[in-house]
Symmetry: C2
Subunit: 522 residues, 2 copies
């Protein structure tokens, strides 16, 4: 049989060819097929191979053979098969109501090509910051450590990783939990999806910040829930007059995208609201490792008695979004439902990566890495803030800079109406991401009315950041020429960026149109 | 700040201690806290650290300080916080209807410990069969190949892997598709879950084989659909009199668990039914790489015009279930919905593993590995079949042996009523998995009435297999003593396995009870 396996490709080709001939009527019902000798000669293969092919077709019920006689096409077969083809394809795609809702969502597109001067896309991190050697070492060790039997793992995640995270979360976030409250997920997105599936029925109300992380709003809408926008300010989501809802989704450590830190008073009000109204609270702690001027604010979960808060963490910002590793800390009463749902979703997260991350945390390498990544990003942030201030002065107001991996830059003198024009002109050389799509379109008044840009810096070099800001200045300058805008931008700065625009513009538009499908990303 | 990061743990501990004191009323509203000097002495830390902690508590709104004066507890805070604690935890857990359904499902449990004589658990593979060096090499190469920016990938999966799979599926399965029809998923379970979410609404009927892969039935039930059992025989699922349904779930290459191969005639009938009734068909091709006596039967998808069949493949059986890598091939009309749903589920599958698998397929290493794994499993299978036949003769009827990584052994002389007793007696030394839980309990008549065992062999050594069968014989022998069963088992074979039973029995029962929660697994 080993030999046959080697010849499988040829055998398969012969089988497929004969089946096609049968379907096209070359061999009608009962027709005798060529002798193995003849067919072997025709294909230039051994008779053994042809005999194997005939045997295969007999096994599949296409051919039959009688005592020594040549193989013949079975009756009725030749007529049936073409009929299949005649049946027209179903005109309508039949989807569940969930399927119909997700079909309305944008399909994401690849990130912008590297030839841009600077891509301020939020959510990307620099490969240079990734602890490549440590990760390779940990993965190799994990592969060699595998037990003799490779079987399915614990759907909640490996106990080693959950125990390591318990310690890390207490040290880094003041968060106390039992390893059994932790469920390892494929990045925070799977955590959000599990929360939406397990906690929300169609029609349920869920409070979301406005502006809000777009994929969160999409995830809640996809399960049929109704996102209710709640205004945010410098202290995060406003907690006065919270309405009835099953769930609230917040980013208290660093509101996405505006960067406010939720105050202690509002944290208490939010938790009291949750208890009063029997609602749960999702605390998305997506980038709390990056805090530059004071130590991290303890997690909302630490204020709560593990009754209403579901804490969501990820290594996408500390290691890499390509790893797809995150973790949920859920109230004990919800644990079984989340473990069971995780099992039905995909059995468990990949085992080698879980082992590698546990190694890094236990050895202390993870927290050392977080500290050095924090230092590097503090430097990038300083360069961005300095360039923006030097270049634009009061024309640009920066918010949310004391934490995270992005800032929001409000262009005080560019009305929202000119956003599309700005992006079109910038697209040639810059990846720019406006904050406007993150606002709930149903509440237009909540948007300040001037262009705001979400500027991520974690994947950029310092020179890239400076050149990117210079290019932004030149774009705003051109924009100013084209109408009454008065921007204090000297011709000086844009000198270096003439030429290559025709090419750039064309690609730019294409890039921009692709970018628009990605507004929801973080 | 770098210094502060280093001291974060101590700072955090001081903050938490003070907050606990505030909550317990040790420091009431407006109370002055100890001087930094006093607290520094009390904790044996620098005043800088205490000052940082106070600064943190001021930032969080717990303390306030006036010009030079000592920090005081803010008004109202001390009273509010304890209130939080007084509010009782919600007595009822509030879940969505999906959450309530998954809560009723069994939570899986860890695999049996290695000290068993033999664990015939299906779905595990031998670590010795895993191409460790090739995988480590491919993963390392993938890590080093990463682009400068680490960002989110294509939710459908990397184009390299989808292109590599397109070629592999044509060579190995006679399956023609466009890379855009392929969606990379975290093992076949995520593929099943996506199909259930996107194609089924609560109350929809879905045809499943009886007996059937348990997790598939659970996945459909979890979304509120109604699984309709359809009898199977040696030709797989019966296609006469298929009722109305939105979806049919089949394992045509090797029916799970009974191992029948769906005949060409039934494949055509199933596809005609799907077209007539506007239903989709999920083809779960979970172990088709393992076929020992003839080449693989081409995929059902290859007969279909990519209109109704969703093809589901996995590397769990060829490489390892711990990797969580699988793939869906969907009709073009369904592609956008699946890509969008995969994105909302977890953005995309881990990038490094996708790159490594693409490398292995493109280099030919994957198919070489599949051939050698097929050879090794053919040997294991031969040993199992020989031992069963030599040991039990006609007392055991084996089915489904010509393909896959398991057989079903029917114990002709052991009535189903004695199944629990058999498992209890065997549990001390054997991992045995009855086929009975895979039958729909609503159709008791469909079960033959004698004990059938699903015997997986892919993770066992040849000696383990032989010793496992010998132990099974000894267990059946003991069972026979305990009542009228006449089993032709000589005392000879069981000699070597006396002793260690008291210990074994105790663990065994524990192991068995844990196993029962895992009936649905494959």
């Amino acid at each position: 049989m080993g030999q046959l396996s080697e010849d499988m490709t040829v055998t398969r080709q012969i089988c497929e060819a004969i089946k096609d001939q049968i379907r096209r009527g070359v061999h009608g019902p009962g027709a005798r097929l060529p002798s193995t000798r003849a067919l072997a000669a025709e294909w230039g293969v051994s008779r053994t191979t042809v005999t194997a092919a005939y045997g295969q077709l007999i096994a599949e019920g296409y051919l039959e053979t009688r005592q020594g006689a040549r193989a013949t096409v079975v009756q009725g077969l030749g007529l049936d098969v073409p009929k299949l083809r005649e049946v027209p394809a179903p005109v309508t795609v039949r989807l569940s109501s969930y399927g119909q809702r997700v079909l309305d969502l944008p399909i994401p597109s690849p990130p912008l090509p590297g030839r841009l001067i600077a891509d301020f896309r939020y959510g990307d991190v620099a490969a240079a910051d990734f602890p490549t050697l440590a990760w390779r070492k940990a993965i190799s060790a994990a592969i060699l450590r595998r037990p003799a039997r490779l079987g399915y793992g614990d759907p909640a995640g490996s106990l080693e990783l959950r125990a390591a995270l318990q310690g890390y979360l207490w040290r880094a976030r003041g968060l106390r939990c039992d390893p059994d409250q932790i469920v390892i997920v494929n990045g925070s997105q799977q955590g959000l999806d599990l929360c939406a599936r397990l906690l929300l029925d169609p029609g349920d109300r869920v409070l979301v910040e406005n502006p809000c992380y777009g994929l969160a709003r999409q995830t809640f809408s996809a399960v049929g829930a109704v996102p209710i926008p709640v205004d945010v300010d410098g202290e995060g989501m406003r907690t006065d007059g919270l309405g009835d809802a099953r769930l609230a989704y917040v980013t208290p450590s660093h509101q996405f995208p505006l960067g406010g830190v939720m105050s202690a008073a509002r944290r208490r009000e939010l938790l009291s609201w949750a208890r009063r109204s029997g609602a749960y609270v999702i605390e998305d702690d997506y980038d709390s490792e990056y805090r530059y001027d004071i130590a991290p604010i303890p997690a909302l979960q630490a204020l709560d008695g593990a009754e209403t808060v579901l804490y969501l963490g990820t290594v996408s910002k500390t290691l890499s979004p390509t790893l797809r590793l995150g973790y949920l800390v859920v109230p004990p009463g919800l644990r079984d439902a989340f473990v069971s749902a995780k099992r039905l979703s995909d059995r468990h997260s990949p085992a080698l990566e879980q082992d590698a991350l546990a190694d890094l945390i236990v050895s202390g390498a993870y927290e050392r890495h977080v500290r050095s990544a924090r230092r590097r990003n503090r430097e990038r942030r300083a360069v961005l803030l300095a360039s923006l201030s030097k270049t634009f002065g009061d024309d640009v107001a920066v918010v949310g800079a004391d934490a995270g991996l992005h800032v929001v830059a409000w262009l005080n003198r560019v009305p929202k109406e000119r956003e599309d024009e700005l992006l079109a002109r910038a697209a040639a050389g810059l990846g720019l991401y406006p904050v406007s799509p993150l606002y709930d379109p149903a509440v237009p008044a909540s948007h300040p009315g001037i262009v705001g840009l979400v500027m991520g810096y974690a994947s950029l070099g310092e020179r890239e950041i400076e050149q990117g800001v210079e290019r932004l200045a030149s774009v705003l300058d051109v924009l100013a020429q084209s109408n009454s805008l008065k921007l204090d931008v000297s011709r000086e700065r844009v000198r270096s960026h003439s030429g290559s625009n025709a090419r750039g513009r064309r690609e730019g538009n294409d890039q921009r149109s692709r970018q628009w499908t990605d507004d929801a990303d973080r």
